[in-house]
């Protein structure tokens, strides 16, 4: 499912080596800890992966157009808190609260997109600032007290399971399939990838890079909002500090999954495997009684490993400099 439009022919999909990594990881862990290969641990891993993937997806959408977002955690927190507020303080019906939470995410992303596209200020600065602002807003609304007592329908969705498969994972798979179809077959998805692949060429072909950047941030906000709802469902509370580590997580999952930092190439299949790998590692470290603080170190090491190991496959694009903007020299002459 590596999605640059129709590239079935590509020899090495980034997720083939990832699958190998997952298998090796399981083979190492299984004899070390008898709990590891149990259904309940499978559930733990998939539940954790389910959320990680949606967080990563929110980053993949902006990476596709050659931008990135540091506001994913802030948007997720704000969406979750907005939902918690409506449910707990206002007694709103669940459906309404969820729709509003997603709308908040979409709107926050839209604001980012418009600012990045029209202000001329770099997306790094804009999303760094807005991410802080969204988190602050969420903290202000909750007065730092999480909203507890969320409706049962939501918490069952967050922690219930069918066999060892968490309900949450179904939502993740549905969103991923939608994203894959979007990038492969939808005109807007094509627009994002084309602008990400070569902004000048896209513009000269009559596509609108501004529209692509705004759409990418808006969709990313929507997905971050969805992640906020999922996180609240999983934790049984809406908490303003939930997104603290989402930015590094989102990059880890996206990059290991084979999405290009330079834009134009995304991999949804890779993203799913990367989410599972990260969840596996977190779980293994817990099982082996390693201090959870090491998890962050592991994420960093994984990103580096992914970039270095991946030179021959889809990650190649990570090192490819973006197309020069003004007058291109790398061009033309043959």
């Amino acid at each position: 499912m590596s999605v640059r439009p129709s590239d079935a022919r590509r020899g090495t999909s980034p997720w083939v080596p990832l699958l190998v990594v997952v298998a090796i990881g399981c083979a190492i862990m299984a004899p070390l800890n008898r709990q590891f290969l149990t259904a309940s641990n499978g559930y733990v891993i998939l539940a954790s992966a389910g959320l990680l993937c949606v967080i990563g997806l929110a980053q993949v959408v902006v990476l596709s157009v050659g931008e990135f977002s540091l506001a994913i955690g802030g948007i997720g927190a704000l969406s979750g808190v907005a939902m918690g507020y409506l449910l707990v303080e206002r007694g709103a019906p669940l459906a309404v609260a969820v729709v509003v939470a997603l709308a908040v995410g979409l709107a926050a992303g839209l604001v980012n997109g418009l600012l990045v596209a029209y202000s001329g200020v770099h997306g790094f600065v804009i999303t760094l600032a807005s991410g802080g602002a969204f988190t602050g807003l969420a903290l202000g609304i909750t007065e730092t007290q999480p909203y507890n007592g969320l409706p049962e329908a939501l918490t069952v969705f967050g922690t219930g399971r069918a066999g060892f498969v968490p309900y949450l994972a179904f939502a993740t798979v549905a969103l991923s399939l939608a994203a894959a179809a979007f990038f492969r077959w939808h005109r807007l998805g094509r627009l994002l990838l084309t602008v990400g692949g070569n902004r000048e060429a896209a513009a000269l072909s009559g596509l609108s890079p501004v529209r692509a950047v705004v759409a990418a941030h808006a969709l990313s906000g929507l997905l971050a909002g969805a992640a906020g709802v999922m996180a609240a469902a999983q934790l049984h509370e809406a908490n303003a500090s939930v997104g603290a580590e989402w930015v590094i997580t989102s990059f880890t999952v996206a990059i290991i999954g084979g999405t290009s930092l330079a834009g134009g190439v995304v991999s949804i299949g890779g993203l799913l495997f990367a989410g599972v790998i990260l969840a596996l590692i977190k779980d293994a470290l817990v099982m082996l009684d390693v201090n959870p603080l090491w998890v962050t170190l592991t994420q960093g090491v994984l990103i580096l490993a992914a970039v270095f190991l991946g030179r021959s496959s889809g990650w190649r694009a990570v090192r490819r400099p973006a197309a020069p903007r003004a007058v291109s020299l790398e061009g033309a002459a043959s």
């Binding site: 094509r190 692949g197 060429a201 291109s328 033309a332």
Partner: protein, 511 residues
Amino acid sequence: MNAVEARRIWKTFDGNTALRDAHLAIEPGSIHALVGENGAGKSTLIKALTGVHRPDRGDILVGGVPVTLAGVHDAMRFGVSAVHQERNLVPELSVAENLLLHQPPRRGGLLDYQRMYREAEPWLARVGLDVDPRARAKTLSVAQGQLLEIARALSVRASVLLLDEPTASITEREAAVLFGILRELRDAGTAVLFVSHKLEEVLGLCDRITVLRDGQTVLDGVQAQGLRRADLITAMVGRSVAFAERREPCARPEAVPMLELRDVATELGHDAVNLSVAPGGVVALYGLVGAGRTELARCLLGLGRLTGGEVLLRGAPVRIADPHDALHRHRIGYVSEDRKGEGLILSHSVAHNIGITVWDRLRRALGFITPRREADAVGPVAARMGVRMSGLDQEVGQLSGGNQQKVCVARWLAGDVDLLVVDEPTIGVDVRTKEEMYVLLDELARAGKAILLISSDLSEVVRLADRILVMADRRIIAEHVNTGDYAQLSARIMDEIVEAQALVVPERATA
């Protein structure tokens, strides 16, 4: 003894064989041509000779000794230096830094910039490149970048110099300067390899010729003397091919012009530009590199500001905001001369690259595009242009240079526009496909579209245009009806350009 020789070279990329048993031997003190159709394997062979690609099988000999080349540095050590088909300049570095990239002058471990600028001057002068050595490379035009790279290759003082299509994007005049330099190098004993699709150049310049077809050597270092253009084409294609002399004009002068510029001035310094293109007409904008033709086209698309005059489309004055506006509101298409920087999405498939302009037509419910319909729409265009690929889903970045160019042009032939501005459409395209592109452009014109052709290739201009506008220093200095008489037009236009420049230079000196 041969300065360099490639023996029985094989090279396969993911099941796609680029070279099969290729042979090439270049003697010292000779200029050797390597020709073949797009995708025949010329660039791949050069890359094998310079250590960029490792051949699957076969030997490389330098001065009669077999060598293993692990990388470009190895090749340079053996005195083999190349200018590759795609530009390899660092846009943010200065001209001088790019020029002396491999051997920057140092003092006490630090770069000695003063000396670097001084040492760069003579090399720039050598290739006739009149730019400030301190200027960033990104400010150069495509052709200037090309000359800079040639200067860089010369500065290494190589005994074997491999030039992959060095004249693709420079004019005949600049090419003539380059040929003078190459002849001097040859006389000093350098072995020069020269790749080009311009067969007249090849026959005029080179001593020996090697022809590749489908990765195989079909003519191996034969004497150029006595060979005719038709012989070369037959060898390249495998059969004889007929070419038309020129296009039958079909402009409808009585119709309202599709495009008309009246006294247009731009922020880039164009002044009093008047031109008009009728439906069915092909108007060529000819000039030396740097004359301001591409900039004019970009201003038309809204990428530069107009400071005076009027632009009329179909008789009505218009303001074009940006290329999006140009395409969707005014139905103007633009094929950029810079295929890698502004044309292609290298990491995407051929289908996707051609399809960009037709998505809107293909779109189904909810904005989805089915790959089947996309393939149905772009497949015939790609086939017509003879794009050599493993399939419509091959990455464009993997195609040979000329095939990438075909994809660039194909995008606009698939799109439905009324006015097509084509900027150097046949850069690096082989003779047979060039002819096919001309036929396709002619068909567009016959269907009532208007075409503004920007070209530095006068034979192309004579082949296609109804009228020829000559531009120099951002002004239109002359207009000719195309008589089809190449020799006469060429002489007159060159005189006009020289005269215009003679006027311009003192003007600048006093300013």
